[in-house]
């Protein structure tokens, strides 16, 4: 895998004549996790689609560039809340789907190695329906890793999992996506604070906020940088500085700060 690039996103997004989010200037640091929080409908998933170069309903004015100046498209892997495993394929065949879709011969040995690392090797011949939600999401993670792209875009990948499984998946993902530039959309401040090197709160303000606020320059943008605790991820979920940051973040999300 090549070195993961940083990604800069500069621009605004309009949908059907309405501004979805005001101009943002956001840099996703190379090889680090950026977590995006924000209310539903604010354009978090849209941001993800924009980076992936997928079609979206509205228009983005601005540009999204990688620090190494090479195109981002083709260097991205995707992971979503629904595992998107194809129900008619075995787990192993799901993992190597990318290669099959590109008309390449899949590296089954590597796929089995990855399945082993996510603990699914004994289930490789099973259909996804035979797996639990957590196992399916682990399979999806293995598929993401199989693609071996330097940039990973995660759209609420763990939000449908139970608390214990979610914590496990967070750890596993943090380990296995090390070195990749990760953008994760989440609704969970705790998750963001736990995993993020950087936390972004995305909001869209109505017409009332045409005038930029008079606070520090960073606050002029509607994508606000939030500084996670100074410790390195993966953080202890219940350490005092983590919970303090979570509390502040939640207050901010609810508009109380």
């Amino acid at each position: 895998m090549t070195q993961a690039p940083a990604i800069q996103i500069k621009g605004q997004y309009d949908m059907a004549g309405e501004r979805l989010f005001e101009p943002i200037d956001l840099t996703l640091p190379a090889g680090q996790w950026s977590c995006v929080l924000g209310r539903s409908g604010v354009g978090k998933s849209t941001l993800l689609r924009l980076i992936a170069g997928l079609e979206s309903a509205g228009t983005f004015t601005g540009n999204i560039v990688a620090s190494d100046k090479r195109p981002i498209q083709g260097r991205v892997s995707f992971m979503t809340q629904s595992d998107l495993l194809l129900p008619w394929l075995s787990v192993l065949e799901n993992i190597v789907l990318g290669a099959r879709l590109r008309n390449e011969t899949p590296d089954l040995t590597r796929a089995k190695g990855l399945l082993d690392r996510v603990g699914l090797l004994p289930w490789r011949e099973k259909k996804p329906a035979a797996l639990s939600g957590g196992m399916r999401q682990r399979a999806a993670l293995a598929r993401t890793l199989m693609e071996d792209r330097p940039i990973a875009l995660l759209d609420e990948p763990f939000s449908a999992l139970d608390a214990g499984t979610r914590a496990d998946m967070q750890e596993l993902s943090a380990q296995m996506l090390t070195g990749k530039t990760v953008l994760m959309v989440t609704h969970d401040p705790a998750e963001a604070v736990r995993l993020g090197h950087q936390i972004v709160v995305l909001t869209h303000e109505g017409a009332t906020l045409w005038h930029p606020p008079k606070t520090a320059p960073l606050r002029d943008q509607y994508a606000t940088l939030w500084h996670p605790p100074k410790t390195a991820p993966l953080r202890d979920q219940y350490a005092p500085e983590t919970t303090a940051c979570q509390a502040a973040l939640l207050a901010h999300l609810r508009g109380r700060q």
Partner: protein
């Protein structure tokens, strides 16, 4: 097993109602023959009916296979190209506005009194349901599945083959089940317009000679054949629908 028991009970009820109707209305046997008379006619003419049924079954079978293949290919083509879909779909709907029954005499004129015109009728009558059901399945693939395939750099043909078509197979199953019921209609209409063989021909012949019992026997044979065909296709479709 209870399914069979229900079917037997329903049939018995039907036969009893039929017999009751004759007792109540006192209809003469050349208007409404009794179940017993029909059963006798069926047994006496078993070779004649069997031979003609086999002929109709051949027409229906050929029509089903050809029409389904044609429908499947059309649906895949339409699903591969948005432009083609926008161009061809209105045309397809328009052809559906022409009753296939009305085409039967024309088809007989063009393709003759033989088997081809009947097979064509069956093809025409099932082509649209199969195409439209399969196309629906092909186009109703979840967007995020396609997004994933796109980010993986999948080729259009491979995405069609490995994701869209398998995803649409249950819809194809639904279309095929409809086709199994429609195809005999097409074949029999074709036989009514002009044929020298087949159950439709036999019914017309029997009707013309006031052999109402034979007509009913042919009709029941046709219905039984259609039901058998439906169950056979249903079984095959269950394979498609099991993911």
């Amino acid at each position: 097993m209870s399914g069979v028991r229900y079917a037997v009970s329903a049939t018995t009820c039907g036969v009893l109602l039929w017999q009751a109707l004759i007792w109540i209305t006192d209809a003469p046997h050349f208007i409404l023959p009794s179940p017993w008379l029909v059963a006798q006619a069926a047994w006496q003419n078993r070779l004649l009916i069997g031979e003609n049924a086999l002929f109709t079954l051949t027409e229906v079978g050929l029509g089903l296979v050809l029409g389904s293949l044609l429908g499947v290919v059309t649906a895949v083509l339409l699903a591969s190209s948005d432009r083609l879909h926008r161009l061809v779909m209105p045309l397809l709907v328009f052809t559906q506005a022409v009753p296939v029954f009305a085409l039967a005499p024309v088809l007989t004129l063009w393709l003759g009194y033989g088997i081809i015109s009947k097979v064509m009728m069956a093809v025409l009558i099932i082509y649209f349901p199969v195409t439209s059901a399969f196309y629906d399945g092909l186009s109703r693939i979840p967007q995020n599945m396609l997004d994933m395939a796109m980010t993986m750099g999948g080729t259009k043909a491979q995405i069609m083959r490995r994701i869209r078509i398998p995803h649409a197979l249950p819809s194809l199953g639904t279309g095929l089940k409809l086709a199994a019921v429609y195809a005999p209609i097409g074949a029999v209409i074709g036989e009514w317009v002009g044929a020298s063989k087949g159950l439709g021909y036999l019914m017309l012949l029997a009707n013309g000679r006031a052999k109402t019992d034979l007509m009913f026997a042919s009709l029941i044979t046709l219905a039984a054949m259609t039901i058998a065909l439906y169950f056979a296709v249903n079984k095959a479709a269950a394979h498609l629908q099991r993911v």
